[in-house]
Symmetry: C2
Subunit: 249 residues, 2 copies
DNA sequence: CGCTGCCTTGATCTTCTTCAAAACGTGTGG
DNA sequence: CCACACGTTTTGAAGAAGATCAAGGCAGCG
């Protein structure tokens, strides 16, 4: 049943030149924050940003560290997690090209509330809290754009709360797969493939359950023909049924 | 055991004059958004706001309605809820004097993702999305303040996700009581009293469980001397033990 | 005083976790 | 190219946590 080849997920390869100047400008210009700016202004903005690369599984920052910077994903994928005393981590979000993370507070002096880890090879652009505040004050339209982004993030988090408190593990997994597909989905011969290495364990951390429970549910979903999945990859084959399963209005 | 008198929670009485002009200015001036403005500027801001009163249990807006306004609580308390198909609502947050709700998106054209209901007699000040956008562009410092507020809101929502996915019902109730006490707590002879009508059912909706489970946990907490509680009210008598129970770092 | 909500308590049943072990896939080094 | 080794995934069985169903109690209010 399961395809006999290796993971269909493309292993993101990033060459050193990928964070080069022209690329940077293009990436910054496409950020929702800066779409309203002229290319000249983008150039100014670019001055404030610093680039940096990370290897898979390398941490970008840890929970509790002084929150000093705002990051933007310039290439690759990043995951945000929280730890618990019991060692039962939870995975808050997965970020791709153009997503930002770190601190949006312009005050500084706070701590990161989550840990950011490179999921693939990653290149980030980042700006200090003070530098960001500067940008906001210089370009009021940026502030408005940031606000809009923030409010949709807040909505997402509340969706998550909603989802966690009122649904079964199966429903939560269905919902999470749909969300991931929306963000990282790529149509191919297997179905709608989620473009990231995604283990049962990752999924378990996202929906707040165990690896075993996740495995059982995934097996069932596969048997029912809603998904196809193998080692660290998942593709959706029946969006409609998955959606109705998720119980989301 | 239980005090023989009626609920110790003050029934918030609001006189018609409570939304009067001078009061409005005072309230607006105290909002985190506007603390940086001069009293003259506050006067300008005030022009954009409209006031309105609500009775307990009256809806301010419903999920799915066109999201056109940003509200501020000028008096009383407001709760935000989400509905599910199964009728199992969840309670996202309780708001008090100075808290804002509604839409922060300056775009308009979106829908409210939650329902806002007056918990007590309530007076709100509100501004249209367009009017708010106007304020942001006129006073850049406001935008920065709004952002900071937003980012702490986002953190709260993520805390909630964290809490829901990794903890037992008992821990979640302990945590929720602590959060409510932090926001609405008032020291008195019973302990740290949560100043709002708070039923078992409300709590259940907040932690994503049933009325019965909540009742069992609350009885146990009372027996163990961590809280005192009666019909629609809760007071905390042992903060430390409650905190350690909640399992929150 | 009796009605209407809230709150409590018990018994049963479902869902999910936990513990344990085996099967599988992938990349590695012989 | 094969075989081994490691991490991932699967499966089973026992147990715990919580949901559900069903009554009954208690407070406040007309």
């Amino acid at each position: 049943m399961t395809p006999s080849r290796k993971s269909p997920v493309e292993p993101e390869t990033i060459e050193p030149h990928m964070c080069a100047l022209d690329l940077r400008l293009e990436i910054l210009g496409k950020l929702p924050f800066f779409t309203s700016l002229s290319s000249n202004e983008i150039h100014q903005v670019n001055q404030s940003f610093v680039e940096r690369g990370y290897q898979p599984d390398e941490a970008i920052y840890y929970t509790g560290e002084q929150a000093e910077r705002l990051y933007v994903v310039a290439a690759g994928k990043v995951k945000l997690l929280r730890h618990t005393i019991s060692g039962k981590d939870i995975l808050l979000d997965v970020l791709k090209l153009g997503d930002f993370f770190g601190t949006l507070s312009t005050l500084g002096g706070e701590n990161y509330s989550e840990t950011a880890v490179a999921l693939t090879t990653v290149c980030t652009l980042s700006v200090s809290a003070a530098g960001f505040r500067h940008l906001l004050e210089k370009f009021p339209s940026v502030a408005v754009a940031v606000l809009d982004t923030m409010s949709s993030r807040l909505l997402e988090a509340q969706d998550m709360v909603h989802q966690l408190s009122a649904h079964t593990v199966e429903q939560r997994i269905a919902f999470t797969l749909l969300k991931l597909a929306e963000k990282l989905g790529e149509e191919n011969d297997l179905g709608l493939l989620i473009q990231m290495p995604l283990s049962r364990d990752d999924l378990a951390m996202m929906v707040g359950t165990t690896t075993e429970s996740t495995s059982r549910v995934m097996s069932q979903l596969q048997k029912d023909g809603l998904i196809r999945s193998g080692r660290q990859w998942v593709a959706i084959t029946d969006l409609d049924r998955l959606r109705s399963l998720s119980g989301y209005e």
